[in-house]
Symmetry: C2
Subunit: 203 residues, 2 copies
């Protein structure tokens, strides 16, 4: 297996943390935004959408989409379980991973793309949309703080892919957007202190 990744990419980091939690080390080829090799014909033949990460199996089969890659690795290496141990847990992890992606990570990425100077000239920026999404992120952080009361992790009673998704969302929000955890959000702060100091956090 080989992973095609993107330097500083938000979604590639989700997969790299996931692989590190599974203690799986595979060859990684890193693209970067500036040379954009992942938008060149040779790579588009693998993934016509030009998104990263992409996992290539030994027979040449290609799996794109972070969560699809993680799910495949989960089936190859079941321990530690990052998608849940039972049918109910797997549903709960799916629910929370989706909430973290749809309600937090995608809005964070929108704020980044539509308001950050890095994207000027690279993407069409719609400032009003970026501002609306920034409000949504702030509101969702308040909601997540309430949800985390009395809970060490987001979906079930152990670390899961839902935590990883929330973690990369927060990492991007804090790093690129100066959108931080509020002083009135103790549960979120406690969760962040716990997940961001895991040995795999900077994978």
């Amino acid at each position: 297996m080989k992973l095609y990744s993107l330097k500083n990419g938000v979604n590639p980091r989700r997969v790299r943390i996931f692989l590190a939690e599974k203690r799986l080390s595979i060859p990684i080829e890193e693209f970067d935004m500036e040379t954009a090799g992942h938008k060149a014909p040779a790579f588009l033949a693998r993934n016509p959408l030009g998104t990263l990460p992409v996992l290539e199996l030994d027979d040449g089969t290609v799996i794109a989409e972070s969560v699809a890659i993680c799910r495949y690795v989960e089936e190859m290496i079941p321990e530690p379980p990052l998608f849940g141990r039972s049918a109910l847990e797997r549903a709960q992890v799916e629910m929370w991973n989706r909430r973290m992606e749809l309600e937090l990570l995608l809005p964070v990425i929108d704020v980044f793309v539509h308001t950050h100077p890095f994207w000027v000239g690279k993407r069409r920026q719609i400032g009003e949309w970026g501002a609306a999404r920034r409000e949504q992120v702030a509101e969702r952080l308040r909601w997540l703080d309430r949800e985390l009361e009395g809970r060490p992790f987001i979906a079930v009673d152990r670390y899961s892919i839902a935590d990883i998704t929330a973690q990369v969302a927060l990492l991007t929000a804090r790093g690129a957007l100066k959108l931080s955890i509020g002083e009135d959000q103790p549960n979120l702060a406690r969760w962040w202190a716990s997940v961001s100091t895991r040995p795999t956090a900077r994978a």
Copy 2:
């Protein structure tokens, strides 16, 4: 089990088609946009985000998020498999279901929310964003037409949740947005003719 659904809701329809494919009939309580009972405190205690659908198990456990509900039902009723039969198929279905959701369904919903008269006064509408997403939908339909060449279904060689997700996206695009399949998109047209005439299509 009981399903809380939303009349004419896009995501609730995904779940209803899924249940119909599994030949599973359970009690359904329908909310509607006008009275918005799903935004009232009694329901927010079940799902603080106020989204539908929601599945309630007999012990009161709540599973929100369409795909989480479908995944739970898949584990209870494995046949016919709608998430894939092997590890590789499950990864491919996940990849394609995500593509259909992130690249097609979410943009379609954005076009609807940000440009359709139905949402005036109900949601903040950002016309420029709606227009950008409309372009994206048109582009993605051209891409999907190319991908479907020689393939009867979207993810694997049988009907899956990826087809359901694409189907509700197309249903919304055609119904609310007059965004139709182009005459130069024969593969998409063939696929649509096949999936939209399944007995479960109007579930």
